[in-house]
């Protein structure tokens, strides 16, 4: 990487050059086409970073709101009501009961069937980080709403895949899907030991939102070496 060049770009943009330096920089730009193009990209990247972080919180709030409106929109479309004559009801009811008996076991699987968050044990003996200790305790007690802000504080100083994973699981338990899925996707893109676990959690997130098809697609990407692959197979069976 051309380190000197990028430092120069930044100094120029921050207005930290002397007049001579500035003139010589601008002259260089006008002569070196490749450098000029790179400078444009550099400015563009700064702008994108600004946009990304300036609206980060707003964007998350928007996404959450959008998801809830969208879910409502897509689930309210109930089938049309057809008026039936009274004796049809009796016939229909008995058929429904018969079907119910036959297909009772064929209901869609639910998130609760598979929701067994593991016990967190990231605090080591002698650890004195109170956030860490409290987060672990809250997580293991199922107080996810308490654990979430603690994890956020920890991640600011110590961003490890392990903490990210437990943070993601807490978000999922609290049904904060968009944020949870961002975390899981980051872990999936990485190379940590939490990669396969994150895929499983992402699949569970889809299951909880009743997005069965997406759930299945994610399950199919999980490696057979994943420690709880039995669960994966079982859920895949039930989704079929």
């Amino acid at each position: 990487m051309n380190e000197e060049r990028y430092i120069l770009f930044d100094q120029y943009l921050q207005g930290e050059m002397t007049v001579e330096e500035k003139n010589s920089f601008e002259k260089q730009l006008s002569e070196d086409h490749e450098m000029a193009s790179e400078f444009e990209t550099f400015k563009d990247v700064q702008l994108q970073l600004k946009n990304k972080f300036e609206h980060d919180e707003e964007r998350e709030v928007f996404k959450a709101n959008l998801t809830s409106i969208s879910d409502k929109h897509f689930n309210v479309s109930k089938p049309k009501v057809v008026l039936m004559k009274p004796w049809y009801y009796a016939a229909a009811a008995s058929i429904i009961i018969l079907f119910g008996l036959f297909f009772f076991d064929y209901n869609n699987p639910t998130f609760d069937d598979y929701n067994n968050p593991e016990t967190a044990s990231f605090v080591e003996r002698g650890d004195s980080d109170t956030n860490l200790i409290q987060a672990q305790a809250a997580f293991n007690d199922g107080k996810y709403d308490v654990a979430i802000p603690l994890f956020e504080a920890i991640l600011k100083v110590n961003n490890t895949p392990e903490i990210q994973y437990f943070y993601g699981v807490s978000l999922l338990e609290e049904s904060k899907y968009p944020r949870a899925e961002i975390i899981f996707n980051e872990l999936i893109a990485g190379t940590s030991v939490y990669k396969e676990k994150a895929k499983w959690s992402l699949a569970l997130s889809k299951l909880k939102q009743k997005k069965y098809k997406q759930c299945k697609e994610i399950l199919q990407t999980i490696s057979q070496d994943y420690e709880n692959y039995d669960d994966v197979e079982q859920l895949l069976d039930e989704l079929d």
Binding site: M1, N2, E3, R5, Y6, I7, F9, D10, Q11, S37, E38, T41, F42, D44, V45, Q46, L47, Q48, L49, K50, N51, K52, F53, E54, H55, D56, E58, R59, V61, F62, K63, N65, L66, T67, I69, S70, H73, F74, N159, E186, A189, K211, K213, Q214
Partner: protein
């Protein structure tokens, strides 16, 4: 962008940018059913349609936040075409089967096409940026996040417990790394297109 008059439907864009639930609901009610129909008639299902719509809404939110979205045509045509093209691209990516595109007979006006071009370019740029940003190390990501949320670099240095000089240099290099990767991707793309 040209100085063409802004269409009154700009209110939908502004509603999205302001996270106005009433406007978002109206968009779902008025414009989304057409998209669902299209996706379902073209090898997709409701879930796919829901995802495509959500992606486009987030894209419009981002573009309007970057202040580069000014509607010069009706929202209806613009929104539908964006969703449609996104879905067809998705199909191309996932299936090896040939995708038949049923071009509608309705003529689409020029400014709508131009606008869609801008939005798709914005989308592409942002996706490239996001991918590259994820490639950065944690240290760089954290430092950039702080530098662009807390405006003063002195404060950033204090927060990270390092010197001002170090933060400044490191920030230039992190932005530089992103620049280099994005530049390489661009060069590769222009090679491919030539």
């Amino acid at each position: 962008m040209s100085q063409t008059k802004i269409h009154p439907d700009q209110m939908y864009i502004e509603g999205l940018a302001a996270n106005d639930s009433a406007i978002i609901q109206t968009i779902y009610k008025k414009f989304v059913p057409k998209v669902v129909m299209f996706v379902m008639n073209n090898s997709g299902d409701k879930e796919h349609a829901q995802d495509i719509v959500q992606e486009v809404m987030i894209l419009l939110f981002n573009q309007s936040k970057a202040n580069t979205l000014q509607l010069t045509c009706p929202f209806d045509a613009y929104f539908f075409l964006l969703c449609k093209r996104k879905w067809l691209n998705e199909l191309k990516k996932t299936s090896n089967k040939g995708v038949t595109i049923n071009e509608d007979a309705v003529s689409i006006n020029e400014s709508a096409l131009e606008l869609i071009g801008h939005t798709e370019e914005f989308d592409e740029k942002q996706q490239l940026f996001d991918t590259m940003f994820q490639k950065l190390g944690d240290k760089c990501q954290e430092l950039l996040k702080l530098s662009f949320t807390i405006k003063s670099m002195e404060e950033v240095a204090e927060k990270l417990n390092v010197t001002y000089g170090y933060v400044r240099k490191k920030k230039s290099l992190c932005v530089g790394q992103l620049t280099q990767w994005i530049q390489e991707a661009k060069n590769f793309k222009s090679l491919k297109n030539n």
